[in-house]
Subunit: 245 residues, 2 copies
């Protein structure tokens, strides 16, 4: 049996780095999704395992806090474990360890299991009571639970985009990380020269599909804090909060 | 001494796949750049090696021909070698080998060596006469030499974009592969359901920088052939040709 905590190593290639020579927030988030995918697969509840039940995991919320980002040509180790399983959600945590074995960040994610046909949430403890066995009791994830992210209303849209081929992933939906790429792109290059994204939270509320015209509404909440609302018409598709440091 | 032909293995992760479950053209192109980077580095003429001479490699042209694309969870082997070195350009070729050891594609690239300060091309045989020693005589790359790609004039722009944070790479320029991502995004999702990009050629003519507003002009040349011109005002930044199959 695999241990409750999975540990996965990623190498920071030049083409995943931004102009500061470090991996970007969307890239670290891709590592999160990949580590979660492999961890679940190894333990018998990955995408391929649960497809036979007509069920799929859907990322509902993501919160990430970095004290620094890994640099070009370094290795990054991502540890992940299941923190909790409730009726409709599982909570999965992550810890990022740099080449010097120092912790440089944490992440917390919340996943729903949905019926592929009805798109309705599945009662997880009824469907898979064995998931309880994978809950890790020892490891601590020091990130606060996700707070509600308010909607941003009445403000000028800072940017818009249409959902295109490159935004659609292997599951035929708008890729969760692509939303993030569009969100970080609302910022001017200068802010990335002086600061880095210390904290990022996102809540997925609805699904974007090919051809959708999405608008990004951004509001500054305090000097280093922004709320960005991705909307399709009046409907929020996802809401995010960025805190710079 | 390293052999003239370098061989590098890449794993096709789910997050580099499109909705058909295969690696995309931009992803295969990232593998090309990465294989070239490691091959040159191992042999003493990589980015870091030549920085002391104030010289950098710049991709000038890329031509790629695929009979199929590698699938999710497969390994792809990329072989690369130097085909020729002329006064101002080196020609580097690539061969793509799938998990069953079958060749599924080739690519041909042309690189200039430029002085970082003056941005002028360097006389390669004078600067580095030793590069001749790396020319591989045996391997054949069956792709035709790049033909001229005409400009697309007077047509309605199919799409535009501003160069943003995610478009800028570790060298502080618009990433060569990001142009390609925007180019493939001009196509409707339906064409990707029925066909794949069999042949892709691109010529880089000028550099895009942060904040530039670029427009993509697309013209259908024959049933499966398109020319896409990426322009900043009247100036072509890069021109590309796509042949679907």
């Amino acid at each position: 049996m695999f241990p409750k905590v999975g540990s996965f190593k990623f190498h920071i290639e030049s083409y995943v780095c931004d102009f500061t020579g470090k991996a970007t927030l969307p890239v670290v988030s891709n590592f999160i999704l990949q580590a979660a995918t492999i961890h679940a697969h190894e333990r018998g509840f990955g995408y391929n395992n649960i497809l036979k039940d007509n069920v799929a995991w859907v990322l509902s919320r993501l919160s990430i806090e970095m004290s620094e980002y890994p640099e070009h040509d370094e290795d990054l180790t991502v540890e992940t474990w299941v923190e909790n399983v409730t009726r409709f959600f599982t909570q999965r945590c992550f810890c990022f360890i740099n080449k010097n074995k120092r912790i440089i960040g944490y992440a917390r994610t919340i996943w729903a299991a949905i019926d592929i046909e009805t798109r309705r949430p599945v009662d997880i403890p009824v469907w898979r009571p064995d998931l309880q066995d994978y809950i890790e009791q020892e490891k601590r994830c020091p990130i606060e639970k996700l707070a509600k992210i308010p909607s941003v209303n009445g403000l000028e849209s800072s940017m818009g985009y249409s959902v295109r081929y490159s935004d659609i992933d292997i599951n035929k939906h708008m890729n969760s990380v692509k939303y993030m790429e569009h969100i970080v792109n609302t910022f001017d290059l200068n802010i990335f020269k002086e600061k880095f994204i210390h904290k990022f939270e996102i809540v997925y509320l609805a699904e974007g599909t090919f051809g959708d015209k999405l608008k990004l509404y951004k509001q500054s909440v305090s000097e280093n804090e922004y709320i960005i609302d991705t909307k399709k018409g009046e409907e929020s598709i996802c809401r995010s909060r960025i805190i710079w440091k």
